[in-house]
């Protein structure tokens, strides 16, 4: 059978009307340099993002006796320990706030942030079976891992509401800032998480270095102590940490204190630059993921 004959034979039973576009839908080529973000591609995969988040959430507490209660237990127990050691024993000043609520506000954001960074950073490695078998924009994977943490955050927030009622705090106008602050924390975690996830594919050192880094990061953030405790000449070091502004602003908006606009602006700027840099690094390394992982 000749090539020509094969083609005619084929068109006989073709009952799909092929209306081929003039330009290819997809072009596959070697890329020497960095490729810009393909927003359309990402948008087309929003359902996959949702499904991967849903999977992470579903699977997280499968076969656990306490289930989603773990989302509260983690920050709650840490808060109790901090209240005893740093509060009752070390008498850390808290700008007049009761110890439990001072520690819990910090820990609530911090637990979300550190878990999101950690699961984001390990997400590509954990999904290597997908990366080597199916194509979709790889950014979906760390994004889903970070996004899945929001549910735990929401559950743990219920306890904060309880504490606010117990200590008789009034609702203030500052509450309007809560949502933007949570969004900022998520974006910061996304930036850091995406960057580490890409590095992790090439350098497995990340897996060992990251828990250590997160631990140090906790101590240089105003969670155990207020930023005001740091001597004035060292405050700039504190503020270089983008988490400082977010946590200070979180407390300020909950308790009606003066809002730290300066350090919050720095945190926002840092977040935008981090996200852009992380996306750039990720895109640069993405094409080799399937071979390196």
């Amino acid at each position: 059978m000749t090539l020509q004959a094969a083609r005619t034979a084929d068109s006989d039973h073709s009952n799909i009307a092929y209306d081929l576009p003039e330009k290819p839908l997809v072009t596959i080529e070697a890329h020497r340099s960095w490729v810009p973000l393909n927003i359309r591609d990402l948008w087309a995969c929003r359902e996959l993002l949702y499904f991967l988040m849903w999977r992470d959430i579903k699977v997280r507490y499968k076969q656990t006796a306490l289930g989603a209660a773990w989302a509260v237990i983690q920050p709650l127990v840490t808060m109790i320990i901090f209240t005893y050691f740093f509060g009752k024993l070390a008498r850390v000043p808290t700008e007049g706030l009761p110890y439990p609520i001072f520690f819990y506000t910090g820990l609530l954001l911090w637990t979300f942030f550190s878990n999101a960074v950690n699961s984001g950073a390990n997400s590509l490695i954990g999904n290597s079976n997908l990366i080597t078998k199916v194509y979709f924009p790889r950014l979906i994977i760390p994004s889903a891992a970070v996004g899945a943490g929001l549910l735990d955050f929401a559950i743990a927030s219920l306890l904060l509401i309880g504490l606010l009622i117990y200590y008789n705090f009034q609702v203030t106008l500052g509450y309007l800032m809560l949502l933007p602050l949570i969004a900022l924390t998520t974006l910061l975690a996304l930036g850091v998480g995406i960057w580490f996830s890409a590095l992790n594919v090439r350098y497995r050192d990340v897996r060992y270095a990251l828990p250590f880094l997160i631990q140090i990061w906790l101590f240089v953030s105003p969670i155990i102590y207020p930023a005001s405790l740091v001597p004035a000449e060292w405050r700039w070091v504190m503020i270089l940490n983008p988490v400082t502004g977010v946590i200070e602003a979180f407390r300020a908006s909950l308790f009606g204190r003066t809002f730290p606009w300066g350090s919050l602006a720095y945190s926002s700027g840092f977040t935008i630059i981090m996200l852009a840099y992380a996306a750039y690094t990720f895109r640069r390394m993405e094409r080799n993921f399937a071979e390196l992982i």
Partner: protein
């Protein structure tokens, strides 16, 4: 008629690991720092001896509605070709143009999670393969009936027998409806009767006029389903044409090699 897949001079070079660390495929930070210190200006591409061409200057075109076969011995570059066409790995040089929506199936059950129920895995796997939620909704009953797991659809798949697992995984894949389907040897899973059903489904797919690129070891599948085929060996296309001719060429080659 214009082709729906245009492959132009695709090559792929892999780096093979030096002898000292065959199992470690990733480099540690220390290694790469040391490497950068030793040769700070380039030279990171390493030794040419460690390179292997898995695919070299392969060009072909697939017409809409055609079932196109890719055959060849192990290590011929078939999987590399599939992975390049599926956008999983990037070619070293060359260009591929795709003029239709492509779904590729390199294994069945990609992304199945053992702790999730059959129902949940159908949705997850469908989404991973590129189906919209609506599409999965409308085909859900069909998928479950095809897999014959109606009674266990809300049981975690880790409690499934391996046959049930494979059937469900195949069923999701079989209900994909892209314009172009790229398939590795994932067909015909399960016991004899289910295999027959899989092959029947494959017949339906090829008859529906869908464009299929089929990579397989089964020469029978190629002669039966494909109109045209290529034979790969050592990363190069060594024979192209009507499926039966290419299969014959491959068989006589293998016979000649084994008798010599």
């Amino acid at each position: 008629m214009r082709p729906i897949i245009k492959v132009q001079g695709i090559s792929k070079r892999f780096r093979i690991q030096p002898r000292e660390s065959p199992s470690v495929r990733y480099e540690t930070l220390r290694e790469s720092i040391v490497k950068t210190l030793r040769s700070p200006f380039g030279g990171r591409n390493g030794n040419r001896d460690n390179m292997i061409w898995a695919l070299k200057d392969a060009s072909f075109e697939v017409m809409p509605g055609e079932v196109f076969g890719v055959i060849g011995p192990n290590g011929a570059g078939k999987s590399t070709l599939l992975k390049v066409l599926s956008r999983i790995i990037e070619p070293t040089s060359g260009r591929v143009e795709l003029y239709g929506r492509v779904a590729s199936l390199l294994e069945v059950g990609t992304g199945f999670h053992p702790d999730l129920s059959g129902r949940e895995n159908v949705y997850l796997n469908g989404a991973i393969l590129g189906m919209k939620r609506r599409e999965i909704d409308s085909r859900f009953d069909e998928i479950v009936a095809f897999a014959e797991v109606e009674k266990f659809i809300d049981t975690a798949v880790k409690h499934y027998s391996s046959g049930m697992y494979l059937r469900l995984a195949f069923a999701v894949a079989a209900h994909l409806e892209p314009e172009v389907l790229i398939v590795d040897e994932v067909l015909a899973v399960g016991d004899a009767s289910f295999q027959k059903k899989c092959l029947g489904k494959m017949d339906d797919v090829t008859r529906s006029g869908r464009t299929v690129l089929l990579v397989t070891h089964s020469l029978g599948m190629v002669t039966q389903h494909c109109q045209r085929a290529i034979l790969l060996d050592g990363g190069q296309i060594i024979k192209r044409g009507a499926a039966s001719e290419v299969v014959e060429h491959y068989q006589s080659r293998t016979a000649a090699q084994s008798s010599s």
